[in-house]
C-alpha cells in the first residue's frame, strides 16, 4: 500500500501552498508534503508580482501591463495575465489582513535597509509605512537588534527623496532581554503584554515600550518599528501602541527570520486546513517510480522509504537555495524526478564576475509546456501527470525582477487547478 491522495504537492513554500489550496478549493483530495517547516518564515511578508523588467527597467507602476512584454520563457507568459489575476484573487481571498488588492498598481514600501520596494500586496501592519504617504515618519530601532539601523534607514529614505520628513532613533527595548533575544521573544512579550522590569518596577510591555518612544516623538504622525510587534495578536499590539503614541504605527519588513513571513505562513496553512487538505512536514521526498507517468514518490523517514501515491503531482520544491534545483561540478539537476534543467556545459559560464551581473544561475530551473509540465531537452513532456510551480521553474530572475511571490502564486494556482481538473 501507499499513502494515497488525488493530488500530491511536494513542497511547502508559497508555490506549494498555493497549488494545494487551489486544487483543494477545486474539490480535489489534496496532500501536501514538505521536507521541513515552510520557508515562508524567511520571507519578508511582502508579496510582489513584478517590480522591474528583466532589463532592469523600473520600478514598474503596473506589473500586469509589463507581463506581455516579458521574454517568452518567463513563467508569467506560460500561465498568462488572466491566470495571474485569478491567482492573486485566490491569495486575497485566502489571506486576511493584507492590503493592495484595490489597485493593479504597485505600492512602494520602505525596507529595513531604507530602500523603497515596489510590491503588489503587503501586510496590514505595514500599510501605514507607505512611501507615497506624505505624513512624517519616526523610525524606531532597538539597540540589540542590529539588523535594523533606524538612523541609517532614515538617511537612505531621505536620499531616495521620499515626500515626507523621516528621522531615526534607537532605543532600548524595555526589560532585561538578552542582547541576542529572538524576534519571537519580543513578539511573545507584546502578544501577552507580559511584564518587564523598568527601573525596578514591573510594567506591561506595550505600555513600557510606548513610553520610551513617546520621549523621542516630535509630532511625527507615523512611527515605524522593526517587524516584532506580536505574532498571534499583532493587530492588538499595534492598536495599543497607536493609542499611547497618538500616531499611526507600522512594521518595517525585516530579513529572515521574519514575523510577517511567519504570520503569512500561518494564514495560508489555516486556509489550506479549512479547504480540507492533508499536510505533513519533516521528511523529504527523495525519489519516484514511473516513466512517462509518475506512479508514486518516496518519502524518506529515518532510513525508511514510504510510498505516497497520487493521480496528479505538483513539484514545488524551490530553486537553488530551496534545494529543488541542485548543482555539482558537472551539472545542474532536479533531484526527485531528474527533470531536465537547461544549463551551459562549462560551469564557469554559470555566473558572472560582477556580483550583480547577469548570472545564468539566477534563471536555472525546469522548463515546461503551456500546462506547466516539465519538458525534456527535446521539448517533450517528461511526465504526463507532473506539474511544476514556483522557483523550481527556470527562465526568470526573481531577485532582479522582484517577481518571486507572484510567480509562485500564479504558477502554484495554475498547476494546482490543472492537477485538480485532471484528477477528476
Amino acid at each position: 500500500m501507499a499513502i494515497e491522495s488525488a493530488v500530491l504537492v511536494v513542497g511547502g513554500g508559497l508555490a506549494g501552498l498555493t497549488s494545494a489550496l487551489s486544487a483543494a478549493r477545486e474539490g480535489a483530495d489534496v496532500r501536501l508534503v514538505s521536507y521541513k517547516q515552510s520557508t515562508l518564515r524567511n520571507a519578508s511578508g511582502l508579496v510582489d508580482i513584478l517590480g522591474y523588467t528583466p532589463d532592469g527597467d523600473g520600478p514598474r507602476t503596473d506589473p500586469y501591463e509589463a507581463i506581455p512584454e516579458l521574454p517568452e520563457e518567463h513563467p508569467y507568459r506560460t500561465v498568462g495575465v488572466e491566470a495571474v489575476r485569478e491567482a492573486m484573487a485566490l491569495f486575497d481571498d485566502a489571506v486576511p489582513d493584507y492590503r493592495g488588492s484595490h489597485t493593479d498598481r504597485n505600492a512602494l514600501l520602505p525596507t529595513h535597509g531604507g530602500t523603497i520596494k515596489p510590491t503588489a500586496r503587503y501586510p496590514a501592519g505595514a500599510s501605514a509605512g507607505l512611501a507615497s504617504d506624505t505624513r512624517d515618519v519616526l523610525l524606531v530601532g532597538l539597540e540589540a537588534m542590529v539588523d535594523f539601523d533606524a538612523e541609517h534607514a532614515a538617511a537612505h529614505l531621505r536620499a531616495a527623496g521620499v515626500p515626507f520628513d523621516v528621522r531615526g532613533v534607537t532605543i532600548r527595548f524595555p526589560g532585561d532581554l538578552r542582547a541576542d533575544a529572538k524576534i519571537t521573544r519580543y513578539a511573545k512579550l507584546l502578544d501577552t503584554d507580559g511584564e518587564v522590569a523598568v527601573r525596578g518596577r514591573m510594567r506591561p510591555a506595550r505600555e513600557a515600550l510606548a513610553e520610551r518612544v513617546n520621549t523621542e516623538l516630535e509630532g511625527e504622525a507615523r512611527v515605524g518599528f522593526p517587524a516584532i510587534l506580536g505574532d498571534d495578536r499583532a493587530a492588538d499590539v499595534r492598536t495599543a501602541l497607536e493609542e499611547r503614541l497618538g500616531a499611526a504605527v507600522f512594521e518595517v519588513p525585516m530579513g529572515p527570520p521574519s514575523l510577517p513571513g511567519l504570520r503569512l505562513e500561518d494564514a495560508l496553512f489555516e486556509a489550506l486546513d479549512a479547504a480540507g487538505a492533508s499536510i505533513e512536514t519533516g521528511n523529504p521526498v527523495v525519489d519516484h517510480d514511473g516513466e512517462g507517468r509518475v506512479e508514486r514518490v518516496y518519502v524518506e523517514k529515518h532510513g525508511a522509504r514510504i510510498p505516497y501515491a497520487a493521480d496528479q503531482y505538483v513539484l514545488a520544491t524551490g530553486g537553488l537555495v530551496g534545494k529543488g534545483v541542485e548543482s555539482d561540478r558537472e551539472r545542474v539537476y532536479e533531484p526527485i524526478f531528474d527533470c531536465h534543467v537547461p544549463h551551459a556545459e562549462d560551469r564557469y559560464d554559470w555566473f558572472e564576475a560582477d556580483a550583480f551581473g547577469d548570472h545564468q544561475f539566477a534563471g536555472f530551473g525546469v522548463r515546461t509546456d503551456e500546462g506547466l509540465r516539465p519538458t525534456a531537452a527535446d521539448g517533450a513532456v517528461e511526465f504526463e501527470n507532473l506539474r511544476a510551480a514556483g522557483s523550481v521553474l527556470g527562465g526568470y530572475d526573481f531577485a532582479a525582477e522582484k517577481s518571486g511571490s507572484g510567480v509562485s502564486i500564479a504558477t502554484g494556482y495554475a498547476a494546482g487547478r490543472r492537477a485538480a481538473e485532471e484528477a477528476r
Binding site: 517547516q37 532581554l177 524576534i183 505533513e280 532510513g303
Partner: protein
C-alpha cells in the same frame, strides 16, 4: 543595486585551489560522530531560534543556533572552551530539527553537547545531578512503584512527602504524579496468552478479512514505560487494533527508550537501555517484524536519536523499521477508508481537544490524528494549535523550570479552553500530564479512539 566598490581583485572565474592545495584531515583519529558537516551547513538564518519554545520565554537561554553549530565551532578552537551551562535549559523538544532549511542536525548537536557537559562538567555529588538522574530513570521508579501501585499512588502524592521532595531534590510539588495502574500492560498481555494468543486472534481476523491466513503481518510492540506502568489501556488499544487488521503482535523485552535520559544528558544510562532495545528489536526485524511504538517520543528515539548518538550493531535497521502505531496502519492498510465507514458510540463518543507533541513533528505526524478523525462519525477532534505543551518530559518537573514550563504551555491551555471538546487527546504521555495539569481535562490517546471506532 549596490554602489559598493569591488573589495578585492579576486577573480571568481579562476580556480583558487591550485596545485599547492592539500586537503587537511581535520579530525584524524576521532571515533565520535562527525558533526562538522552539520555545523558547516548552518548559514545562520536563525529559523531554528524562532521555533524554540524556551527562548520565547526564558531570557537566559541563548537558543538552538548557539547550542548547536555555534558552540560546536567554539569547541574546535584551541584552548579550553567548556560547554555553556545553558545547554541544560534546552528541553529537547527537537523542534529546531524540523525548522532547519539546511539539514543541520541540531538535536544531535545538543544531545552530544549535553552529554559532554554532564559527563565532564557537572558535579556527580550535586543534588541537581541526582534529581535529574532519578527523573531520567523514570522506568526504575515506575518498576518499583508498579509492585505496590496503591501504596505508590498514595505516597507519591502525599503532601508532606512532596514538599520534602521539592525542598530537598528540586522536584516541583505543583504537579501530581501520574497514577500507576493496578495491572501493568505486560501482566495483562501475559494473561491474554501473549504472542501465541495474538497469533490466533490475528489469524482469525485475517480469515474474516478475506486475507491469506498465513499472510506475513507481524509487529513488535515497543510499549515504553508509560503504557506499561501507567496507561495500559493505550497498549491494549494498540494490540486490539493491530489484531483487528490481522497483525500478530509480539511484546519483546525492552527498557526505557532513552528519551528522558537524552534530555538530561545521561548518555551512558541511555546507551545501556538502548543496547537492550536494539538487541531485542533487531533480532525481530531480521525475522521480518516492524517495531511499533504508541508514544511518539519512543518512536522518535528509536528512529532518530539512536542512530545519531550510538553505534550499536543493528541500530540502523531498527531505526528504519520503527513506526508510530497509527502511521504504520496508514501506510499498510486503508485506514482512512475504515475510519470513514466507522462510527463511535459509548464512552468515547465525544469532542476532543487534540495537541500534537513536538516529537511527532519530525516524524511528520503532527496532523495525523486530526486528519484521520475528521472523517469519523460520532466523535469530533480539534487541533489546539502548534505551540509546545511546555512540559517536555522531565523539564517541567524541575522546580526551577516549572514556571517557564507553564508559561510555554499557556497558549495551549488557552486554545484548549476555547475548543469545543472537554477531553484532551495526544500521543505523548508527558504532554498529557501537562494538558491535564493546565486544563483539568481527562486526556486520551488516539489509539483508544481508533480501537473504539474499529474494534469495539
Amino acid at each position: 543595486m549596490s554602489d559598493a566598490e569591488s573589495p578585492t581583485d579576486f577573480d571568481p572565474t579562476a580556480p583558487n585551489t591550485g596545485e599547492a592545495f592539500e586537503p587537511v584531515d581535520v579530525f584524524p583519529d576521532s571515533t565520535d560522530f562527525d558533526l562538522r558537516p552539520g555545523a558547516d551547513s548552518c548559514y545562520k538564518c536563525s529559523t531554528c531560534d524562532t521555533n524554540c519554545p524556551v527562548a520565547e520565554v526564558d531570557d537566559d537561554f541563548p537558543g538552538p543556533k548557539f547550542q548547536g553549530p555555534e558552540q560546536w565551532r567554539l569547541k574546535q578552537q584551541d584552548g579550553d572552551h567548556a560547554i555553556d551551562d545553558s545547554v541544560m535549559d534546552c528541553s529537547n523538544c527537537m523542534r529546531c530539527d524540523n525548522a532547519c532549511p539546511s539539514g543541520v542536525p541540531l538535536s544531535q548537536m545538543h544531545n552530544t553537547a549535553r552529554g559532554e557537559y554532564v559527563a565532564e562538567q557537572m558535579s556527580k555529588t550535586s543534588v541537581e545531578y541526582w534529581r535529574n538522574r532519578v527523573l531520567a530513570n523514570y522506568r526504575t521508579s515506575a518498576f518499583l512503584a508498579s509492585k505496590v501501585p496503591r501504596l505508590a499512588n498514595f505516597a507519591m502524592n502525599f503532601g508532606p512527602a512532596r514538599w520534602l521532595l521539592e525542598k530537598a531534590m528540586g522536584v516541583t510539588a505543583e504537579r501530581e504524579f501520574p497514577e500507576f495502574a493496578a495491572e501493568t500492560f505486560r501482566e495483562w498481555w501475559a494473561g491474554e496468552g501473549a504472542a501465541a494468543g495474538s497469533r490466533e486472534r490475528a489469524r482469525a481476523s485475517r480469515e474474516r478479512r478475506g486475507e491469506a491466513p498465513d499472510a506475513d503481518k507481524k509487529v513488535a510492540y515497543f510499549h515504553g514505560c508509560y503504557s506499561n506502568y501507567n496507561t495500559p489501556e493505550v497498549g491494549k488499544a494498540m494490540v486490539r487494533t493491530f489484531e483487528h487488521f490481522g497483525y500478530e503482535v509480539v511484546v519483546p523485552e525492552q527498557r526505557c527508550s532513552g528519551t528522558p535520559m537524552f534530555a538530561n544528558g545521561m548518555l551512558p544510562d541511555a546507551r545501556r537501555h538502548a543496547e537492550v532495545n536494539v538487541s531485542s528489536m533487531s533480532d525481530l526485524v531480521e525475522q521480518g517484524y516492524d517495531a511499533i511504538a504508541s508514544c511518539t517520543s519512543c518512536s522518535m528515539a528509536l528512529r532518530q536519536e539512536y542512530p545519531e548518538l550510538f553505534d550499536i550493531d543493528g541500530i540502523e535497521d531498527v531505526s528504519a523499521h520503527t513506526f508510530e502505531a497509527v502511521e504504520y496502519l496508514r501506510i499498510h492498510e486503508d485506514l482512512r477508508g475504515a475510519v470513514a465507514e466507522a462510527d463511535v458510540e459509548g464512552e468515547l463518543a465525544r469532542e476532543f481537544a487534540y495537541h500534537a507533541p513536538c516529537h511527532a513533528r519530525n516524524q511528520g505526524l503532527e496532523r495525523q490524528a486530526v486528519e484521520l478523525f475528521r472523517d469519523l462519525d460520532g466523535a469530533g477532534i480539534e487541533d489546539v494549535g502548534e505551540s509546545c505543551s511546555g512540559i517536555s518530559g522531565t523539564y517541567g518537573w524541575k522546580a526551577e523550570k516549572y514556571e517557564k514550563s507553564m508559561e510555554i504551555g499557556e497558549e495551549m491551555f488557552e486554545h484548549m479552553e476555547g475548543a469545543e471538546g472537554e477531553t484532551g487527546m495526544t500521543e505523548c504521555p508527558t504532554c498529557a500530564m501537562q494538558m491535564e495539569h493546565g486544563s483539568g481535562y481527562e486526556i486520551r490517546h488516539p489509539l483508544e479512539l481508533l480501537a473504539a471506532a474499529l474494534v469495539d
